[in-house]
Symmetry: C2
Subunit: 122 residues, 2 copies
């Protein structure tokens, strides 16, 4: 029998492959264009053309970004007719986006307030 990763062991002391895969997910999400596409996919699947319109970059660029997301397992793609439709494949992502979103909004708010204060002082 092959050496299978033990769930408990994984949780306690993650092995290299496990960490690498998880980092891959974060890395895939760590680009504005890719994150924007993922945000959009929360509303439902979209074809590459839709996502290209959203990003406004070359089709080839969008396609590569989608490949990164797909290979990380963040999205999945399905071909129907002449189009390829992408959809979210990481259900728990929405919650996390919501949470960080709230935090970031708060941080941006505070930073704006700080800038305003500095302007008042000068």
């Amino acid at each position: 029998m092959a050496i299978l990763p033990n769930m408990n062991e994984v949780s306690a002391r993650p092995n290299r492959q496990y960490i690498a895969e998880q980092a891959r997910i974060f890395k895939a999400l760590g680009h504005p264009s890719r994150l924007l596409m993922v945000q959009a996919l929360r509303d439902g699947e979209k074809c590459v053309c839709d996502l290209q319109a959203l990003i406004g970059a070359d089709m080839s660029t969008v396609s590569r970004h989608l490949a990164v997301l797909r290979e990380a397992g963040v999205v999945r793609s399905e071909k129907r007719g002449t189009n390829i439709y992408y959809a979210l494949a990481l259900s728990c992502l929405a919650t996390f986006l919501q949470c960080t979103g709230t935090l970031i909004a708060e941080r941006i708010r505070q930073k704006s307030a700080l800038l305003e204060h500095d302007q008042d002082a000068t």
Copy 2:
């Protein structure tokens, strides 16, 4: 009054700064060494020396990684005596790590099974 980001607007149609900040968080987490440190910090704060022992890279490398995490707002640091202690600053991260962890463990399990199957066939 300064233009403050509106929460509703942010949720519906994220602006550039918002997306960039959120992507920054993911990017920071998208490196095996940084992710490993963050995983370790779930157990509580640690000094840089602890984290260096965990990663096994040069101290300067670890310090740089920590700076990336700190600037993204994933961790915060506090100086006490001659040490600097790092702690998680993104509470909702633990849940997401748990969720993706389960998913990844399952994927790795399936891939292992596939490899084993291929070996049986050859």
